[in-house]
Symmetry: C2
Subunit: 299 residues, 2 copies
């Protein structure tokens, strides 16, 4: 049975009763709640849940239902940019699911939500209807407060739903993407300029790898600096290649890599891929992993 993960971001990070109700609504559909992370300063919460396409569909619809009823963006202020009460809802292929499955699911959920709640929906990333809508930051520009003006432009007609903002819920951004890996490399130096130069070297926006977002920042309590990254497609821009590039760039400045960190979850394939590359394993197959062989006999 194909497995899909949904990482839904809502614009509420403070009222625990609302968050609990949202979590219960998702879990009641049969989707498995993997993680809930709130940030009161951002006033935002991320629900990660997974299941079959049908389970994840119901989970997402239940979350829209609960969150739209409880959140009024006209009264919402937080540090994180947002366009909607339910802000961003990407679907991610896990086991046995393809990107095409996730694109289909995104469109299906978008259509259902738009109709049920009279909510405008923009499709983004792999589900985007045009290149101008692929990037989340582009779709969200102007935020909730600038939404009515923006939607008045024909170029920003939504993919589903009415051509004007939902009064309290704004608009939502739904799509499909690869699993994202939050990956940081800590350098054995306190020179922030080095971290910033390396971030600029490896990130896509300034000439680096296609699927890397990066910034250099200080870890002041430890007296070191960090290249903080999001790897948005580990199949096409693998961890090992980014690591080796950062390591070499640091060397250029006489700086060593102290350690790296994987924040949150990482697909096993990204780790297998890295082990096989460093060990120079020819023709490694995931079918050789003992646990995968066991799973084949179990199912």
């Amino acid at each position: 049975m194909p497995l899909i993960e949904c990482i839904a971001n809502i614009s509420e990070g403070r009222r625990q009763d609302v968050l609990d109700a949202c979590g219960r609504a998702i879990a009641a559909t049969g989707a498995g709640l993997l993680d809930v992370k709130s940030d009161p300063t951002h006033h935002r919460t991320v629900f990660s849940f997974a299941g079959t396409p049908a389970q994840v569909r119901e989970g997402a619809l239940a979350l829209f239902e609960s969150a739209l009823a409880a959140i009024d963006l006209r009264k919402h202020k937080g540090e994180h940019p947002r366009l909607g009460a339910v802000d961003v809802v990407p679907f991610v292929p896990i086991k046995g699911a393809t990107m095409a499955d996730c694109v289909a699911l995104a469109k299906d959920v978008a259509a259902a939500v738009a109709e049920r709640h009279q909510l405008p929906i923009y499709l983004y990333e792999e589900a985007a209807s045009s290149p101008a809508r692929r990037n989340l930051e582009d779709v969200r520009r102007g935020e909730f407060e600038g939404l009515a003006e923006r939607m008045a432009q024909p170029a920003w007609a939504p993919d589903f739903g009415p051509a004007a903002p939902h009064p309290s819920g704004g608009a939502s951004i739904v799509g499909a993407r690869m699993p994202l890996i939050a990956y940081n490399i800590n350098l054995a130096t306190d020179r922030l300029d080095v971290a910033k130069k390396i971030a600029a070297a490896v990130r896509h926006s300034t000439g680096g790898f296609r699927y890397v977002k990066a910034m250099g920042l200080p870890l002041e309590d430890r007296g070191i600096v960090q290249v903080s990254m999001n790897l948005t497609n580990y199949e096409k821009t693998p961890i090992f290649r980014v690591f080796e590039c950062v390591r070499r760039e640091a060397e250029r400045y006489g700086v060593a890599v102290l350690e790296s960190e994987i924040i949150g979850l990482v697909p096993s394939a990204a780790m297998f891929q890295s082990a096989a590359w460093f060990l120079q394993v020819s023709e490694f197959s995931e079918a050789q992993v003992l646990e995968n062989a066991l799973e084949r006999i179990e199912t």
Copy 2:
């Protein structure tokens, strides 16, 4: 539910009907048959199967039943050394199982088989009753043909069963061990002496790593040489350390690593461990692997 794997080696590698019957007998118990590998020259077959301790116990007992009925070692000749019709039966901890579980299972199976078939059993590796019996090669010395003479010595009384060989089945060696990784490193040279020197440098018997067996051999059709290894405890002697040592030793002779090969199955932990080491990931936990997180919600 804890999962244990059994890798049973029997002294029959030619009669397909016998092998089919053994495979069916194992599968009928509910244990999952992972792999069957026969070698007619060795006249030997390896059955790999896995399941809960109870399933694997029944699978092993069924294999003893079928194999002892069909194999007569008095008529058996093959290139591989052997002591019994069912020669070696190790149990290996997989998911949620400990080495202690496997030692207990080995003793339980040994006692049951000895009583049912009046077959002498030696415990080896982690289940061994004395250091002299840990090593498979030590227990098997003299093979089936020398068994009666050897068993006459009080030092070689079996751990279970009668103090004399089974007429057609000899004796069996049952135990518990870590999963073994068959790992080869191919060198970009045809100099066999280099492969042999490196094998001697990394293997335990000549001063190398505690859990490495190694030999240097030519791959004549490709015009290169190979360091062919068994890694018998990847937790204590990890793949990456062996790889880096072989790479550095080869460099000493002006030789590069061409590639490496993992033959058969490898535990995911061995790959995660290597990826995390090369990437210098601090505090990596298997709980961070997406598939493991999914499994936690499924069960």
